[in-house]
Symmetry: C2
Subunit: 204 residues, 2 copies
Amino acid sequence: MTLVERKQRQARQRIVEVAEELFLASGFDNVSVSEIAERAEVGRTTFFRHFGDKQEVLFSKNQEQLATIAAAQDLVDIAPARNAFEAIEQLRPIVLAILALVTVDPEAYIRHFQIIEQNSDLQGREAAKVQQLGDKLSQVLIHRGTDESTALFAAQVALACFQTAKALGNNPHTLVDDTQGAFVRVLTLGREPRTRRAKRSTPG
Amino acid sequence: MTLVERKQRQARQRIVEVAEELFLASGFDNVSVSEIAERAEVGRTTFFRHFGDKQEVLFSKNQEQLATIAAAQDLVDIAPARNAFEAIEQLRPIVLAILALVTVDPEAYIRHFQIIEQNSDLQGREAAKVQQLGDKLSQVLIHRGTDESTALFAAQVALACFQTAKALGNNPHTLVDDTQGAFVRVLTLGREPRTRRAKRSTPG
C-alpha cells in the first residue's frame, strides 16, 4: 500500500468513526455531511469520494463482505453443488466468514445497529443490503455450476440462518455460533422425528 | 358495513389505484400527495386519514397480510410445535394464504413491484416489511407455546421459502406454487443423499 493509499484509508476510517459518534450523540437525521467532514478534518469533496451519501457511511462494511464473497467465488475448483443440501453447505463457511469479519469489533457492531434502529429508512436499507448479499451468495453457486433454482433456494436459506441469529438477540459475541446453530438445524430438518407429537405420556 | 364505512373503503381503494397509475406514469419521486388526492377526488386530509405518507400507499396490502396472521393466531387450539419441522409446517399454510391473497390480482401485484424497483428507498421499505412479517410469524408460534428459539428459526425459514419464490421470478401466477416447492425442499433437506457426489459415471 502506498502512502497516499494509506492516508486515504485512514481518512475513510476517520469519517466512519466520527459519523457514528455524531449519529449516536445527535440522531442520524440531525447530522449533516458538512458536520461529519468538519469533525473528521476532511473536505466535503473527500467525503463524497468515499461515500455516496450519509447513509452509505453506515454500510461501508458491506464492501468488505462483498470482497469476501468475491474471494470465495474465485475458488473455482469447487465442484457444483448437486442438491440443495450441498449448496447450503457450500454457503455456510462463506456466511460464517462474513459474520466473523463484521463482528471482529463487537462494540462497533452494536453501535451500528443502535444507529440503524433509530430510523426506519436505515432499517429498510439494512434489510435491502441483506437481500443483496443473498443475490451474491446465489451467484457464487451459479458460478460454480449449480442450477439456478437450487442456488436461489440455498442463498435464501443461508440468509435465514443469519437472520435467525439476528432475531436471537443480534449479539456480536455469539452471532457466528448462533448462525452455525441455525445451519445445523436447517440441514437436519428432514430428520426430525415427525411422530413424537402422537405420543403423550399418561401420568401414573 | 355501514354506508360511511363503504364510502371510506372506496376512497381508500381509489387513492391506491390512482397513486399507482401516477407512480408508474411519472415515477414515484415525481408524484406529490396533492396530485394523488386531486386525481382521486379526495382532500389531502382524507389521504392522510388513510395513509401516513406516499410510501405507505404502496404497502397497504400489508394490513391485509397482518389480518390473516392475526386470524391464524386466534386459532388457539393448535398445539405448540415441538420441533423446528412442526413449527415450519405450522407456518406454511399461513404464508401460502398470505401469498394467495396478495396475488389475487396478478396485474396489481406486477404493478406493485414495477414501482418498487424504481426506487431504492422503496426496495428498502419492502425488505423491512418482509422482516416485520417474519416477526409476526414467530409471534404466532410463540403464542401457541412454541419456544422462542424454534419460533424465530421457523419464521426465518418460512420467509426464505417466500423469498426463494420471489427470486425465481416473483411471478404472481406461480408464486404460491413456487413457495410451496421451497417448503417441500426445506422440509426434506436432511433426507437428501449426501453421497451422490462420490459416484461419477465413466462413459463407455
